[in-house]
Amino acid sequence: MCRKSFCNLLINYSVCFLTLNSGCIKKVNDAKYECNMNAAYFSHPNYFIGVAVDPFLLNSNVPYNKIVVEQFNNITAENTFKAEYLHPIKDTFYFDNADMLANFCASNNKRLHGHTLIWHKQLPEWIYNYKGSNNDWETLFKKHIQTIVSHFKGKVLSWDVVNEAFDENGELRESIWLKHIGSNYIEKAFKYAAEADKDVLLFYNDFNLESNPKKHNSVISYFNLLRKRGVKIDGIGVQMHININYPDISQIKSCLNEIVKSDYKIHLSELDISINANGKNNIPTQEILNEQADFLKKILLHYKQIPNANQFGITFWGVNDANSWIRSFYNRIDYPLLFDDNYQAKPAYCALKE
């Protein structure tokens, strides 16, 4: 019996090995993804495909502007809505660039997502140096949130109210806000934002939720608790700064399923898929670009099955590879977006268009 079983096993695994290898050979097919960029405007009422933009490039760079206008229906400002730009001096708000972007969205029929009200980074120097009592900090905090939200009332559909407040161990991050406002600063931020605009959608946004179960479980539990206390929280932004090898698609699915179970809207809010995380793919081969497209396709396949009410949209963190934050932040060449340095569509774009 044992010998028979062993023989069967051997035959089975030999066939498996051959079929698996045939799959690998197919993967390197150069022509796997082909498409053109014509008539690709993503205007489906249920599918929102967004992009993070720089208003300066939007005004000065023709191909950049053309892609944003023709290919995306949801806009996030990569930096313009952050505190250092909107609130550069105490009691002075600077809305010109942000208003320009809001007008662009209104005139081109795009949704506008505000990013972000409360974050521990990219704050103006005066906030870092601010000396005041707890009450002063509270006043500053409330005024910052409510002035901005009120200004964009009716123009911004949704806000990342708080950004990156959790550490990788699932605990609240030590930040300037935690230190001066207290451990309930997140709750206060959402309450103040809701007071300023009761119709706007309110999101919490963070990175590594898709790869760190401890972190996403903490975030979900925390916001479930706030919801029970009557705080309005509409959705969770899963940033998705990922690479073609990590995390595994099963980890991403697990994270999204947990968020859906708790009935939050999901915004894949800063999606980019690095292909050169280890510095070995300085020149992208067709095979690597196809892998990137395959990974995006797997994510989309899962995302589009999420109930419509829980889908907020997918935002790519930059228009083309040349403008990706990864190159400057990590000081390495990479190709994480839908369009290449010359604004030409990559296989990932074709996978999305499919």
């Binding site: 096993l9 695994y13 079929t19 595994d248 099963s250 099955q305 499919e354």
Partner: protein
């Protein structure tokens, strides 16, 4: 075609190698995984798992071949290689195989009178299909082995006889 080969292999393994369709069912609650195996008291058995509570095109499946390297009255220890796959991916021209793993597991029979009821714990290093990244999975579940109690004892007796020689 490739999917057909896999599905045939699964059926072939489950219902041929072990002679008769004696199966065990397993549920792993934390990961919502449902499993069906051939007789887990045999020296070699096959384990098929499917992720439940998931969307249709995201139902990842796994098949693995297990070897009981230690079979005792109240506990079995096993090890075996396997692979994870998603049949839906083939229909959208994505790689069929997600990755590969080796499972080290134990099945404990906590109730002496009902050895068919088992607790299982598995430790499973997993690597993706490009063999360039992986993670360590752990699974805790419970199982029911659909074979008569006498057969469980027979299998154990056989094992003891072999060991005695």
């Amino acid at each position: 075609m490739k999917q057909l080969i896999y599905i045939t292999l699964i059926g072939f393994n489950l219902f041929n190698i072990n002679g008769k369709a004696q199966i065990a069912v397993t549920y792993i609650p934390f990961q919502s995984i449902f499993g069906i195996s051939s007789n887990v008291e045999k020296l070699m058995w096959v384990d098929y798992k499917i992720e439940t509570n998931n969307f249709a095109s995201s139902l990842d499946m796994e098949i693995s071949q297990k070897i009981n390297f230690k079979r005792k009255e109240i506990v079995n220890y096993y090890v075996g290689p396997g692979f994870s796959f998603n049949p839906a991916y083939s229909f959208v021209d994505l790689p069929f195989t997600n990755g590969y793993f080796i499972e080290f597991g134990t099945r404990i029979k906590p109730i002496a009178k009902f050895k068919n009821i088992q607790l299982m714990f598995e430790l499973s290093p997993y690597i993706n299909n490009k063999l360039n990244n992986g993670y360590l999975r752990t699974r805790l579940g419970f199982s029911y082995n659909f074979i008569p109690k006498s057969k469980v004892n027979n299998e154990l007796n056989k094992e003891n006889t072999v060991n005695a020689r």
